[in-house]
Subunit: 296 residues, 2 copies
């Protein structure tokens, strides 16, 4: 219950910050800003920003300095959804319970909306620092972390590998590789960015990274399970799409119960990486548990 | 002649640097890296990187510290071409004399290739500094400059405005606005980044900005003229596409000769902004002239 409050409070912090920095719909070019807001303010869970905030707090951080970085992570995540949903990619009509971006604004605008969200992530991180903000040294490390986690050696690579695996009889190692890139790298970056902004030592950053890698896999396994057992209403998008696409997932290999168990093992292992952390890391531990028990 | 050598030398510097940092085709995922290289190494003129280098040299810079930033500008430019050419956007089959990215690799891969190139631009700028490189303060200013120039308040905004203007009976002010965003902002960022990396004073940066804004418009007017008078062989892409799309351009308003004259006026004005600069700014002056006399 207490943790549900924590999630809700942090979600509101992130949303308030995003609201304060996103150009208003009336700002030219209006269609672009309308389309950016449409997908960004679509009841997202804000998992990546909250992971960054919780990691930041776990090592003692407590200022709003983390918010631009947390918001940047959500911009990156949202751009990836907008592009993934395009007809040339997954061709999805619904996302977070609403029509997908290209269904409302057209394909050209959805491509550009993704490009703009992606670019704005780096704008947010690099804005001139004021009292509450990062020093340039930390700012540039966050830029590096985010670009590596989301680009050709991270999330985009995973997207490519995912497309190439579709319809193929892939083995478990390949599946795990896809996930490690596609979901894992950005989750890893989220947690590490929290650590970097909080001034983590090398050892702490290593422990956070270990936690993040396990959580990333748990997150994706849980997603695969939800795709099988979740309803359209709970997910806010079409359910059971993996099976109908002939896509191999964790439930294909282990069954729903087997996959659930695997995810739980990952969570246990994630939490073990945090054993040197005190009670300030409790939200981070709870996040790992939440990720496998969520309903959407 | 001497300036042609300068251009060629700088183009080689940029290409060598790009070659050294771009993942090899055999790096997984192979298709992605093949597609990134396909569009990046396609006989581009490297105008934006060379503008950055020339601005850097104009204020006395002489180290390779500028190269990652120059390369990042080319990555951004290339990503914008890959996305612009997509069927949902301009639907072009040829670019720089070769089939467009999506004609070779498919639409999904072209979208992801653009995303990866865009993201890698920020990776290049933010890599940990060694002796020859930028200090974090300058690095983060470059990130800010590049994200503003290429995102929702810059190049992407121009692309949106351009799409929205197509087929409409727009006036000259609207046309100039489109250009100022679509081409102007990234050219402005290129020159300013050269200044920032070189340690320009506020006054110098202002003068460079004045130069860049005029050059940006001259560049686009010259592009419009080339679209009318250039041949497919010279351009490496289909010629006269604007007219066949009913697109209003500078030649529509002023005729080819009138537009040429306008571009020359912009060049003269651009060079006037550099009057406090010494002979080290000569390449920058020549670049302004080159931009209106080039054949592709």
């Amino acid at each position: 219950m207490e943790f549900t409050n924590y999630l809700e409070r942090k979600r509101q912090d992130v949303d308030r910050f995003l609201e304060s920095v996103m150009p208003k719909e009336a700002t030219a070019p209006e269609t672009l800003h309308k389309a950016m807001r449409y997908s960004l303010f679509a009841a997202g869970k804000r998992v990546r920003p909250i992971l960054a905030i919780a990691a930041y707090e776990a090592i003692g951080g407590s200022s709003p300095a983390i918010l631009p970085c947390a918001a940047a992570l959500e911009l990156i995540h949202t751009y990836s959804l907008v592009h993934d949903d395009l007809p040339a990619m997954d061709n999805d009509d619904y996302r977070r319970g609403k029509l997908t971006n290209h269904k409302v604004f057209g394909e050209a605008m959805a491509i550009l909306t993704g490009d703009a969200l992606l670019t704005m992530a780096f704008d947010l991180i690099s804005r001139p620092a004021d009292d509450k903000r990062l020093d340039p040294q930390a700012q540039i490390r966050v830029v590096q972390e985010l670009s590596l986690g989301s680009g050709h050696a991270g999330m985009v690579a995973g997207q490519v590998a995912d497309i190439e695996a579709e319809g193929k009889d892939i083995d478990l190692t390949t599946l795990e590789g896809v996930h490690r890139w596609k979901t894992g790298k950005l989750i890893r970056a989220s947690v590490r960015i929290g650590g970097i902004v909080g001034g983590a030592t090398d050892t702490q950053l290593e422990q956070l990274t270990g936690y993040a890698e396990e959580v990333g896999l748990a997150f994706q396994i849980a997603d695969d399970v939800l795709n099988v057992v979740g309803s359209r209403e709970e997910l806010g998008k079409n359910a059971n799409t993996d099976a109908s696409r002939g896509k191999k997932t964790y439930p294909t290999f282990f069954g729903v119960e087997g996959a659930r168990k695997l995810a739980e093992e990952r969570v246990t292992s994630a939490i073990r990486h945090l054993q040197d952390f005190d009670e300030k890391a409790e939200p981070l531990r709870n996040l790992a548990r939440y990720i496998t028990t969520r309903k959407n």
